[in-house]
Every structure is written in C-alpha cells, then in structure tokens.
C-alpha cells in the first residue's frame, strides 16, 4: 500500500494535531504555569521534609 505524499502528510498532520491538542498542549500549559513565577517559587511550594523523630 503506497500512499501519495499528500495523503501521507495529511494523515501525519491529523495524527500529530490530535496528539498535540490532547497531550502536548495541556502538559506544556501546566509546566508553564508551574515555572511562571520562577524556579524559586516552585521550590518553595514543595514542602520541606519533616525531620525524623527516631
């Protein structure tokens, strides 16, 4: 089965567009929002480890 270049690119575009819209953009958005205030703010948001009582 040999697809024409146009058909091949069209299928590739649809598949990649679906993946980008469903997976890549949402993950890029959350990463952007996480690091938007800077890495320091991200680090400060992670609670420090409680010291062990043993």
């Amino acid at each position: 089965m040999k697809l024409s270049t146009g058909a091949r690119i069209a299928l590739r575009t649809v598949a990649l567009a679906y993946l980008i819209a469903l997976v890549a953009i949402p993950i890029a958005t959350i990463l952007y929002r996480t690091f938007e205030p800077g890495f320091g703010a991200f680090w400060a948001a992670i609670p420090p480890r409680q010291p062990s009582r043993h």
């Binding site: 089965m1 040999k2 697809l3 058909a7 091949r8 299928l11 590739r12 649809v14 598949a15 990649l16 679906y18 993946l19 469903l22 997976v23 890549a24 953009i25 949402p26 993950i27 958005t29 959350i30 929002r33």
Partner: protein, 297 residues
C-alpha cells in the same frame, strides 16, 4: 501459545519408552506434568493467587451488594441518580472507545508507516498518559480547559470535559495494541493486491483492516473498560454534578461518604457486569475475526 510451546518442548525432549539409563533423560519444564499438562501444584498456586487477588474481593463485593436482598439491589441501581451516573459513564466511555479506535489506529499507522523528524519523541509521548497519575491528568486538563483557561475554552463541569479527560487517559490502549501488529503485517500481500489493481482504500479495507481488527477491538475494549471505571482524571474537570457530569465512580464514592455501602456495592457490581460483558463480547468478536484471518491464510 505459551502452553503449546511448553508442551512442544516437553514432547520433543521426551525419551523413548523403557528404563535404559543411557537414553536421554526426560526434562520437563517446571510445573508441567507427565502428560504435558500443568501439574496440580501449579494449578493450585495459580487458582489460589487468582482467587485471593481477583475472585474473593469480587465475591465480597457481590455479597455486599445483595446484603439487603435482590429488590434492594435493583432499587439501588435503578434509582434516578444511579441510573443517570451509569448511563453517563457508559455513553461517554463508548464515545471515547470509538474515538480511540479511529485516532489510535491512525496514530499507530503514522508511527509505523511514516517517517518524520521527531518520530521517537511522538512515540514516547503516547505513553505519557500511563505514566502520569490520573489526578495529575485532571489538574493538567483543568489548567488548560478550566475556569482560567489560557485559550478561552471552558470544559470544566461539562460532559465534554469528562470526554477529554477519558480520551487523555485511554490514549495508549489502541495505539499500543495496533502498533506491533502493523509492524508484523506482511506487506507482500498489500503489494499483490496493488498489482491486481486494488486501490489504497480497498487494500486497507480488505487486506490491512481484517489483520488489524483483533488488535483494534481488543484495544478499544480495554479503553472502554478503563474509561467506565475511571475516577482520578475526571474528579476535578468533571465537576461531579449529579445527573449531569457525575460518573459512576464518583457516585460510588458519594454513596460511601453518606454511609450507603449497599448502594455503592450495587452500582459497582453493575459497572463490573457491564465491563465484563463488553470485554467478553469483544473477545468473542476478536477471536472470530482472527479465526477468519487464519482460515483465509
């Protein structure tokens, strides 16, 4: 298939009859009995493990759902809120399964038959929904489609939001089922069909699709089964609005919180029955499709 191979190995290493010590000794794979069957011990261990992990909890759940009698069970699953949650769950999951069948097959096709820069990254991206905890998937989708959506699309607390969340978490099922089958497809048959004058669509429909059908059906079935039991990915974006966006798993949690364990167990058993029946039917159709393929080969 493993059993066949194991049995074959056992048979091929079998010594001729008699007690001659010079003859090669019979080596049996662990757990395979003299007749090439699984030994009682192996069978016992497997049955025990399966019972402890799967059957006992399911039996306990079923017993709990019928604790107040069959009438109470029926009343629990036919109450308007439960029925609405079940219908919403099954409908959205069915749409998600069909969406996965189409897009999953397409993505698998592009990953196997096409070549482009960054293909490996795209291939790795497919597994990301499996790697992410489902609650993270919900936060991820909420950040894009929630009240503060940067693109102005607000899907939170709508059925579309639930659909997108379920499509996100079930993405790999069909892709990862179809991909290895597509790699193994004999392309000579396609070339033969093309040399006989068949067009691309005919080749896909009559040659490629029948080969892929069992994998597509199995992947779609798994996506459906996962979607109807999904909780984490829909908990934030779904909104949990009764009779609108509340899915069965959220209804079950609600029933537990208001101390109605029998209702929760009844809806769980209903979900289990739907999922089991669907997988059984799809397995039957996939098996029939595979038999037809083997007969034609």
């Amino acid at each position: 298939m493993t059993m066949t191979a194991t049995r074959g190995a056992a048979d091929s290493s079998a010594a001729p009859s008699g007690r001659d010590s010079t003859k090669p000794r019979r080596h049996r794979p662990l757990g395979v009995g003299s007749a090439g069957r699984v030994s009682g011990l192996t069978l016992g261990v497997v049955t025990l493990w399966l019972s402890v992990i799967v059957l006992l909890p399911l039996a306990a759940l079923t017993a709990a759902s019928f604790a107040d009698g069959p009438a109470a069970f029926w009343a629990a699953i036919t109450s308007p809120a439960a029925l609405s949650a079940l219908v919403t769950t099954v409908l959205i999951s069915a749409v998600v399964a069909v969406l996965n069948v189409v897009t999953g097959t397409l993505i698998a096709w592009v990953l196997v038959r096409d070549d482009f820069p960054g293909k490996r990254i795209v291939d790795a991206l497919i597994d990301l929904p499996f790697a992410l905890p489902t609650i993270v998937a919900s936060i991820v989708l909420l950040s894009l489609y929630g009240p503060n959506s940067p693109i102005g699309v607000h899907l939170n607390a709508t059925r579309w939001g639930v659909l997108v969340a379920l499509a996100f978490v079930t993405l790999p099922f069909v892709v990862r089922s179809v991909q290895p089958v597509l790699i193994e497809v004999d392309r000579d048959v396609e070339q033969a069909a093309a040399s006989l004058g068949a067009g691309n669509w005919t080749i896909f429909r009559r040659v490629v699709l029948p080969t892929l059908a069992p994998a597509i059906i199995s992947g779609g079935g798994l996506a459906f089964a996962r979607a109807i039991g999904e909780y984490g990915s829909v908990v934030l974006i779904g909104g949990n609005i009764p009779r609108e966006t509340q899915v069965a798993s959220q209804y079950i949690q609600q029933q537990i919180e208001i101390d109605r364990p029998v209702n929760a167990a009844a809806v769980s058993v209903a979900l289990l029955a739907i999922s089991f029946t669907t997988l059984l039917l799809l397995r039957f159709f996939a098996g029939r499709s595979q038999d037809r393929e083997e007969r034609a080969a």
